[in-house]
């Protein structure tokens, strides 16, 4: 019971976008898909949802191919940055279409959400602002009866209040009806407490694939006088560093040396997800060491 992405690679005009991606997306979990601009996040989501074809590799859901298969495609929903709804269509009609195609749709909840977000369902999709287009697509994503929901930049154009409302609704609907959400976003801090598992794409490859607590457990900031810090972190997997006056901070991902005593002058803290992401995806050489 899962989505299996096996050896997926993608290239456009000889330029590599994804290299040998292998992932498992399990049921009833909230995932974060993180990566810098151009890392290939949207491409990966489009391949999973069969909107584009990979150059190599396969995607299956419960061992059934995702390629051109109503049974598997009908169990997923991708809310993408690209708008695939007709500009002329009225929002109410688009709900009808979704209901017709997916067989059911939580209309009551969709109407409640539209009220909460202040979305007029008699408007045409093309007349909406970027933020309200995102809101409309989010409402569909939360109300559609799919087992796997992929959200590509779900809060694009949303103000802080609407973003907060969306995160609350996501948690509520997830606790009432558990299903899988894969959230691809740049606002890492906002989803850090929401996601259970994270995939980090960098340099067209998956560099991190693990549960958030496990990953953060292995990510450290080691700070103190320059010489002491350097002495302590020698031989460790340093993924980044900062300097302020005589104080140095080394960011380390991976196991620490158990037999090495921590000097009194050195402070050891765990990194947050955003800081870890920034260091992993900025320092290319270090990221290559991550497993």
């Amino acid at each position: 019971m899962s989505i299996q992405i096996h050896a997926v690679s993608q290239s456009f005009h000889g330029r590599s976008i994804l290299k040998d991606i292998n992932l498992t997306i399990e049921p009833n979990k909230i995932y974060g898909l993180l990566g810098r601009n151009g890392a290939g996040k949207s491409t990966l989501l489009n391949i999973i949802s069969n909107r584009i074809f990979p150059s190599q590799g396969t995607v299956t859901l419960d061992e059934e191919s995702m390629n051109d298969n109503d049974r598997t495609l009908g169990r997923i929903y991708l809310m993408s940055e690209v708008n695939l709804y007709s500009e002329r269509a009225k929002l109410n009609k688009l709900f009808d279409t979704t209901e017709l195609m997916y067989g059911s749709f939580n209309r009551q909840y969709a109407n409640d959400l539209a009220d909460k977000f202040g979305l007029d369902l008699t408007s045409r999709f093309g007349k909406l602002s970027t933020g309200y287009r995102s809101i409309f697509k989010l409402i569909v994503a939360l109300c559609v009866p799919a087992d796997y929901i992929f959200l590509d930049e779900p809060v694009l154009g949303l103000d802080a209040n609407h973003r907060e409302l969306f995160y609350q609704e996501l948690i509520e609907t997830y606790s009432e009806t558990p299903r899988t959400f894969v959230i691809s976003t740049h606002l890492i801090e906002e989803i850090a407490n929401l996601i259970e598992h994270v995939f980090v794409l960098d340099d067209h490859k998956i560099v991190i694939n693990g549960s958030v607590p496990d990953i953060l457990e292995r990510a450290y900031t080691i700070s103190g006088p320059d010489a002491d810090v350097k002495q302590y972190t020698a031989g460790l997997n340093i993924i980044g560093e900062d300097h302020l006056g005589g104080i140095t901070a080394h960011y380390v991902y991976g196991a620490l040396a158990d037999d090495r005593p921590i000097p009194d002058t050195v402070k050891l803290e765990h990194l947050d997800l955003q800081k870890l992401f920034i260091n992993l995806t900025t320092e290319k050489k270090a990221a290559a060491h991550v497993s």
Binding site: S42, T43, N46, S49, N50, R51, I52, F53, D68, N69, D70, L73, G74, R75, I76, Y77, L78, S80, V82, L84, Y85, S86, T97, T98, L100, M101, Y102, G103, A146
Partner: protein, 269 residues
């Protein structure tokens, strides 16, 4: 029929029937309304002018519609893939849609011809049949006095002709939807121009060359495809052969549409 195919077909049919209604309304407004308004302003509106303006060729209007509408492939593909519908189901639903829409179109075209155009011309059913496109070409094939048989064949023939046109549109649309906007525009402009140049070159070459080219075989083959048998006992043209030709073309077009439909993908993804 799977639930997804049923839902997709229902969605497409509902959408395209509404487009057909809009097209007929526009045609009515332009072809009937405009001359009438002009006549009212010129104070020469007569009952006969009004009746004459109603004599429009609904079948021809529908043939344009059924060719052009299936060309619009990408917009519905976008919406359907967003809603978890496979390319295969999209293709099947479009096939069913063309078949059903052609049936409806032919019913409307035939009804309009016999009950409006023909009635205005004060012609009987059998006399009116001879003025129809099918009647003019194949009218005598099932016997001059077999109106029911001829009308039935007329219906089937025109239905199939609309299906063939729809499938041609679908094949062209499926190819076009794989091209970028710029390439599509270039193709739309370049193909007719290059075609004309090629035709001009061909005519010039044939005129200047000393080789004697015999097109008799080609003409005979094309004649055969539309049903020319040379057997004057049953009339000059056999609608069954032409029906077979349309069936073969329809199958080829459906195959082309299937192949390219399978390659559809979201642009700027």
């Amino acid at each position: 029929m799977s639930a997804k195919l049923k839902a997709t077909t229902r969605y497409l049919l509902r959408e395209q029937l509404s487009y057909l209604g809009i097209v007929y309304l526009i045609v009515l407004a332009v072809l009937i309304g405009m001359p009438l308004i002009s006549a009212i302003f010129n104070h020469n509106l007569t009952w006969q002018l009004f009746l004459n303006s109603l004599s429009i060729n609904v079948g021809f209007i529908f043939s344009c519609f059924i060719f052009i509408l299936p060309m619009l492939t990408y917009d519905n593909f976008k919406l359907l893939i967003q809603n978890g519908t496979s390319r295969k189901t999209y293709w099947r639903a479009r096939m069913l849609n063309i078949i059903s829409l052609s049936f409806i179109g032919e019913v409307i075209a035939m009804a309009y011809y016999f009950f409006v155009t023909n009635a205005i011309a004060h012609r009987s059913f059998s006399a009116g049949f001879k003025y129809e496109f099918y009647g003019q070409l194949y009218g005598n094939f099932f016997g001059a006095h077999n109106l029911a048989g001829n009308l039935l064949m007329n219906f089937i023939f025109m239905w199939l002709a609309f299906i063939m046109l729809g499938l041609c549109g679908m094949a062209v649309g499926s190819i076009f939807s794989l091209l970028t906007k710029t390439v599509r525009r270039v193709v739309i402009i370049a193909v007719p121009i290059l075609g004309l140049f090629f035709l001009g070159f061909l005519v010039n070459w044939i005129a200047r060359t000393s080789i004697h080219l015999n097109f008799e075989g080609l003409a005979k083959f094309l004649g055969f495809l539309v049903g020319f048998t040379g057997d004057h006992q049953v009339g000059p043209l056999n609608p069954l052969i032409a029906t077979g030709t349309m069936l073969v073309i329809s199958v080829i077009m459906a195959g082309i549409a299937y192949y390219f439909n399978h390659k559809l993908k979201i642009k700027n993804a």
